[in-house]
Amino acid sequence: MELGLKAVPWATPLPDDAFRPAAIDVRTIRPDPWLLRAVSVAIGSPAVRVHSFAFPDPVEDEAAGDELPHIRPPAKQSPQIASPAGSTRIRPPGDVIKLKDRLHYLLQPSLESLLTERSLAFPFAPFPFQFEGIAFLYPRHAAILADEMGLGKTMQAITAIRLLLRCGEVGAVLLVCPKPLVTNWQREFGLWAPEVPVMAIEGEQTRRAWQWQLPDAPVRIANYELLCRDRELLERIDATGRPVVEFDLVVLDESQRIKNRAGTTSQVARAISRRRSWALTGTPVENSSEDLVGIFEFLAPGFLSPEMKPRRMGRTVSDYVLRRTKEQVLTDLPPKLIHDAPLDLTPQQRESYRLAEGEGVLRLTELGTSAAIQHVFELVLRLKQICNFDPATGESAKLERLRADLEEVAESGRKAIVFSQWVETLRRLAGHLRHLGPLEYHGKIPSGQRDAIIRRFREDATKHVILMSYGAGGVGLNLQFANYVFLFDRWWNPAVEDQAINRAHRIGVAGPVTVTRFLMLGTIEERIDRILEEKRELFDVIFSGTQAGGKLGLTQQELFGLFQLKCPSGPIDVAA
């Protein structure tokens, strides 16, 4: 087949040399020895910088503590006694600056190990949050344990004190509390720190002076009133310039008692010579943020100022204050059921109320600018009393409701606490409720009889009701066997009410606690209730870091405003 392609000759790229026979040219090159060079690479091991810290030998250090003659080493723990488990770390407080000191805390074994090491066992196994509380207090020279009532502040403080005593870090502790709570503290020390001798300062002045100056008393308990009576001794300086009375640690229980910086109690507490200062309170702020300033004047004078905004104040004190609520830590605690009972005044009460309010407001109006806070208060108290009982006939809508409720409580075999701010009201209630055999616990009951009354309420199955004043029964009592709380009238601030409620709603309570708050419709009680809610918001701003707004306390405008009256402006400090 002829394709008709045209052949084109191509030149190959091979040179002609490629077709020559192969020839290998071998050359030998002798290396010049002078050309060899050793290349040295320095690996280098630069010196490692080390920071070293040595700590005192705790064995040598604590030998002295163990030999303190006044503290009996605890008996070898029996199997019935709870040994702490867990690993709660003790962390250095923010005001510990030196790195070595901070490391000393961080490198310690867990709190539970420290307790076990010293055979410091417990009658009951503490909750983990209680170990956290002890670990919070233990290293601090200034601290507020502000747990909600019923979470065991007493036990946490006692254990921290116990550990400090056993470690030899403190030797003389003063605990100051309201008078009715002295025996309670003695009892709690006996329970949680049985090896620690505790002395209540009491008796005649000479005896007290001797007790104050005893060198070998690890724990002394005094009440606030007594502190004021012995002020001269507590502030006395000896010839060498040393205070006659001094402590390693002073603990103020219910420390809201010193919130008023100008008050004598606050002045005397601040004057006591001490190295460490702790405050225990479920209500570090009752009315205004100034309450907290007052407590800090005892802990760290000048640390807070009244001008601080609540949120800034909250941030400033965060390392010094430990505050937990039951909702946060006791998720297994039976609920607290708040139940408002709005009631109508009886016709006779309504008439008395209308007359009293009309007359009172007229008088305030007539007084005009000379109307003072006490005039308003007199009227408020008068109206609240009418809400309780009609002054003319003795009628009481609250009583009728209370009577029915308490009869039901008694029939079911339960126990109830009834709170009022007036002893007179409690006495009247006692008369009306005679068929229920109520017990009474208030300021008119001698303090020597009070423990027996509480014991009877707890142990006597026929006693279903105890009538208490907010003042006498509001703090420090453990009444977790009661399932019902009635607030016959309302207190001025929610914190005091909460304290009262938490006598029953606390660790150990077997079932839900029902709280009934009586509220007379269309009266001063309803208006005060709104203000109490606003005060709760203030607390949240400082201790919860919330953005909630809230009034800084009861202002004159608000108080006068209860009666739609105008008055001079400015904050007042009356709602104690």
């Binding site: 070293s52 490198l107 074994p109």
Partner: protein, 209 residues
């Protein structure tokens, strides 16, 4: 500090040793930004701190990385950091624990027994003494690679020593048992490393401040 494995009577610190029974805990922390931090904590039998030493952060240089190759980690953990820290101590420990296997390399330089504390979830797998090859995964949780180890149980603790220092097991067991009465509670040899880590972080912040 130049004593070799097997030698006795020499102490690890350059200073005169104190006659205090102490347990040493040595570890290394890897920080992604700063490098390696070493920490050495000496505890008394009650678990209370007697000494703490920590290093400034170190990083291997390029030459070290190339030339030490796979042995770099042992060099850094055991020699550079471990040995340096131990030399600073004034108290001779009864034995030294670590939670980082490369730290075991420090054993080449000291006379005290050294044990690797294995994770607690390793407990109970096989408490009997045994020898394992480290070139494969084991249920006991030993890290792969590295030297051959001998594992054993001591109280609640699961430990391992270098197989070439197998006599450490007996020494550690004897010394630990001798101290048993001093222990407030069953001694958890893994727990102190938590303290060291927190202390190193604190020291780091403190130094930075």
């Amino acid at each position: 500090m130049s004593s070799k494995m097997g030698e006795t009577g020499s102490h690890i610190g350059g200073n005169e040793p104190k006659s205090i029974a102490g347990l040493g805990f040595l570890t290394v922390l890897e920080h992604p930004e700063h490098g390696l931090f070493g920490g050495y904590l000496l505890l008394n039998p009650a678990g209370r701190p007697l000494e703490f030493h920590c290093t400034a952060p170190i990083r291997p240089n390029r030459a070290q990385e190339i030339l030490y190759g796979p042995t770099l980690q042992s060099f850094l953990y055991g020699d550079q950091i471990g040995r340096t820290l131990l030399e600073k101590s004034k108290i001779e420990p009864l034995f030294i624990c670590t939670d980082k296997q490369p730290v075991l390399a420090v054993r080449e330089h000291i006379s005290q027994p050294v044990a690797l504390v294995l994770p607690s979830d390793n407990d109970g797998v096989d408490p009997a003494d045994k020898t394992l090859r480290i070139d494969a995964a084991h249920p006991g949780g030993l890290p792969p690679g590295g030297p051959r180890l001998k594992t054993f149980q001591l109280g609640r603790n699961h430990l391992a020593v270098l197989e070439r220092s197998a006599e450490d097991q007996r020494a550690i067991s004897e010394r630990f048992t001798r101290l048993a009465d001093s222990f407030a509670e069953p001694f958890d040899l893994a727990e102190p490393f938590t303290r060291i880590r927190e202390a190193i972080e604190e020291a780091q912040q403190g130094v930075l401040k």
